[in-house]
């Protein structure tokens, strides 16, 4: 088994120009959000009774959590299927997941009209189990906590190494304790996304008259699950490649290639299921009706199939850049499918139309920016990222904390 890697805190200046820029973008979003709380959702958005969700739900929640599914995808491979070689990818993926899901959760709070009533979600007695959105809400909230618990080992490890006796004490006491509980937490981190990612796909099941037949199907939950796994693998490759160029992170091309083959398989599966379902339901005729729906469908298919083929091409497998491109495309594919199902293929009826407002765009961009900022911050302070320069072969891996301290 190849090295588990040695994650390190990146260190460096916390508030460099990039951070300042990202925080400025977030600042704009905060202003919009504050205004939203005073003036209502209407004045800051183009949401309407026909298009009640705008982009905040489809993008901030559904797309971002799709990107954050990296924790789920890699976790499956690494912990469930015991492919230890993917360990170096786990911590960044989990941090990305924790951040993406937190962004999704907080975006929901802003998108909710009567957010102060959300405490009811904690009371199972009032849950309407028929509601797909309920499952999403409860599951996502739980999963956010689980993800941050999964980030904890990195933080505790960093604490254990700290010069302050207080923090190192905490790190050394709680590190091993958490390590022994981790399998039960990671098991949750496998079950929960399986449930809510398929539910996120299934949210549009009930909008029978509004989602275009090319997108509306009983397979929506299944497709949601498959595409989120694919997005997760894509996100990990993209993220780690970026980290390589930003911080000289370890980015083993062969590892990516192997990972991407799984992704490729999933992309093919998605396309086959999608087309097969359309054929079985007799909906292929819609592909010959001129209009923007066909364009988006074709674009989606291209974005799903192109990386699928690329991932199995030896040329691509050897080239980090081509892998990166293909992984990006797989991300776009999943994102586009989600945006299509929720927005472009969603027709509330004649007379209703929607395009995101500047306010909505500002919040989405700002949220993405603060997500990046938090990622950078945590990575600088805690050992999340494995660097290329780590020659020391230690047996520390993600999830095994405190043994180093014992040496």
């Amino acid at each position: 088994m190849s090295g588990h890697g040695n994650p390190q805190a990146i260190g460096g200046k916390l508030f460099d120009p990039l951070m300042k820029f990202l925080l400025a973008l977030f600042g704009v979003a905060v202003v919009v959000m504050a205004y939203r709380f005073f003036a209502g959702i209407g004045p800051v958005s183009n949401m309407s009774d026909g298009y009640a969700w705008g982009i905040w739900e489809p993008v901030n929640v559904v797309v971002f959590t799709g990107i954050g599914a990296g924790a789920y995808s890699v976790g499956l491979l690494c912990y469930l299927l015991n492919k230890g070689k993917y360990h170096p990818l786990v911590r960044p993926a989990v941090l990305l997941g924790a951040i993406c899901y937190s962004l999704g959760g907080s975006s929901i709070l802003i998108a909710l009209g009567r957010y102060w009533n959300s405490y009811w979600l904690a009371l199972p007695g009032v849950w309407n189990l028929g509601s797909v959105l309920l499952e999403v809400a409860v599951c996502v909230i739980t999963y956010v906590s689980v993800l941050w618990i999964e980030v904890l080992p990195a933080m505790l490890e960093g604490a254990a190494k700290s010069k302050s006796t207080f923090w190192s004490g905490i790190g050394q006491t709680w590190g091993p304790r958490l390590a022994s509980a981790m399998p039960y937490i990671i098991a949750l981190a496998v079950v929960l996304p399986t449930m809510h990612q398929s539910s996120l796909g299934g949210l549009m099941l009930i909008a029978v008259t509004k989602v275009h037949p090319l997108w509306h199907t009983a397979l929506l939950p299944t497709l949601g699950l498959i595409s989120c796994l694919s997005m997760g693998y894509g996100a990990v490759v993209v993220l780690t490649t970026i980290l390589r160029y930003a911080w000289n992170a370890k980015a083993d091309t062969r590892l990516f290639a192997d990972l991407s083959k799984v992704n490729g398989g999933l992309l093919f599966l998605f396309a086959i299921l999608r087309l097969g379902d359309l054929a079985l339901q007799g909906k292929l005729g819609y592909l010959f009706v001129p209009g923007h729906h066909v364009l988006f469908f074709v674009l989606e298919m291209a974005l799903f199939l192109t990386p699928a083929f690329m991932f199995f091409s030896p040329k691509v497998q050897k080239n980090r850049g081509k892998l990166f491109a293909a992984a990006l495309m797989s991300l776009w594919a999943g994102a586009l499918w989600r945006i299509d199902a929720y927005l472009t293929a969603f027709n509330a009826g004649d007379g209703w139309e929607y395009m995101p407002s500047l306010g909505e765009i500002a919040v989405t961009v700002g949220m993405a920016a603060v997500g990046m900022a938090v990622f950078i911050l945590v990575s600088r302070l805690f050992p999340v990222v494995t660097l290329r320069d780590s020659h020391t072969q230690t047996n520390l891996g993600a999830g095994h904390v405190g043994i180093a301290a014992g040496r």
């Binding site: 183009n46 309407s48 009774d49 026909g50 490649t241 160029y245 370890k250 980015a251 083993d252 091309t253 062969r254 050897k318 080239n319 980090r320 850049g321 081509k322 990166f324 491109a325 990006l328 776009w332 009826g349 004649d350 007379g351 209703w352 139309e353 929607y354 395009m355 995101p356 407002s357 500047l358 765009i361 961009v365 290329r388």
Partner: protein, 364 residues
């Protein structure tokens, strides 16, 4: 009944009037019959009618009923014991009638007041028979069974109370606060509003339901605007802009000329004056000036427009598929820029990394 026969009034005609009066108060037809019975049986309610700062217009309005002999008819339904304009006696004899009626009918007579009561300087600005209006009112109202203020003057002060109100004129209910006072405003008041109220009291011993200003709801619950025959013009936006112009001649809405109909509660649009269809201000091209309303009549300038109190739907229909467009070019532009930018950045980054990867193939 013989009296009435003597007046050449048939039982049928009499019944008709009673039914009309009952209808005016919102009582069912059988109530009119009961009223007629009671009146015919001789149990006519005694009425004492006091006049203070008034023009006698309300009394005149009561008499301006065009069906033959109805004036006498009306007088045949009630026992008008004291009315300075209509009674035969004058001077001491008139005052004696008043005292006698008060004695005989203590607690039972209906007291109708026409005209405002001046309050400045102990009310010396209105003296009848040597006594001030305030004194008389206090004395006569003490033993009244029901108190009705007829006309805007008695209801809230009317024209004598217009700015600067030099005599301190007020309505009856400002001076009588311990008993219910029925206000029947109007300048003049609609006689059937009075008649219905009095007859209801006479027949059933009850007063009609009153609103928070003491006005009978059967007459004053709705605004002129709600029942105006020219309403369709208002809804469709057809207005007279100046007196005598096209719109005015065509009988279009007078709102812009200052009609206070939308804010004035009264039933003039339904019960026309002098019982003549079409004999009421708006039908004659004169905008309503809000004579029943204390806040409007003699207060708001004649040609000022008022707020519409209870606007109701104009005749404009929604389409089956309504138009809810929101898309503007700016927003499309920004969204496009962001998506395009991301796509472009992805492409450029991929290309660069690919090239670098090919140049420096590493195992890692």
């Amino acid at each position: 009944m013989t009296e009435l026969e003597g007046m050449n009034v048939s039982r049928r005609g009499f019944l008709k009037v009673c039914t009309l009066a009952a209808g005016a108060v919102g009582l069912p037809a059988w109530a009119g019959e009961k009223m007629a019975e009671k009146a015919a049986s001789g149990a006519k309610p005694p009425v004492i009618w006091l006049h203070f700062q008034e023009c006698t217009g309300c009394s005149e309005s009561l008499l301006r009923t065009s069906a033959p002999d109805v004036a006498e008819l009306i007088l045949g339904l009630i026992s008008l014991d004291y009315h300075e304009t209509l009674m035969v006696p004058s001077g001491y004899q008139a005052e004696k009638s008043l005292e006698q009626s008060m004695e005989r009918n203590a607690g039972k007579y209906v007291l109708i007041i026409e005209g405002a009561i001046p309050t400045k300087e102990d009310g010396i600005y209105c003296r009848v028979g040597g006594k001030t209006a305030m004194e008389t009112l206090k004395r006569v109202s003490a033993k009244a069974g029901a108190i009705i203020s007829i006309g805007s003057c008695a209801s809230w002060g009317g024209i004598p109370s217009a700015d600067p109100n030099p005599t301190g004129a007020v309505g009856v209910n400002k001076l009588i606060t311990d008993k219910p006072v029925v206000n029947i405003p109007g300048c003049p008041a609609n006689p059937y509003n009075l008649l219905g109220t009095v007859l209801q009291y006479a027949t059933f011993g009850t007063l009609p339901a009153l609103d928070d200003l003491g006005r009978p709801k059967f007459a004053y619950a709705r605004t002129i605007h709600e029942d105006c025959p020219r309403r369709a013009h208002f809804d469709a936006g057809r207005f007279a802009q100046k007196y005598g112009d096209e719109g005015h001649r065509a009988g279009q809405c007078l709102y812009k000329l200052g009609c206070k109909g939308p804010a004035t509660h009264a039933n003039c649009s339904l019960n026309h004056f002098v019982e003549t269809p079409g004999a009421w201000p708006i039908a004659l091209g004169a905008p309503c000036f809000g004579c029943t309303e204390q806040k409007i009549g003699f207060r708001v300038p004649l040609h000022d427009t008022v707020e519409v109190e209870r606007p109701t739907a104009p005749p404009a229909f929604a389409a089956i598929k309504a138009d809810h467009s929101v898309v503007t070019p700016a927003v499309v532009g920004v969204a496009g820029l962001i998506v395009g930018g991301m796509a472009g950045a992805s492409y450029v980054a991929s290309k660069k990394i690919s090239a670098e990867s090919e140049q420096h193939p590493e195992k890692e």
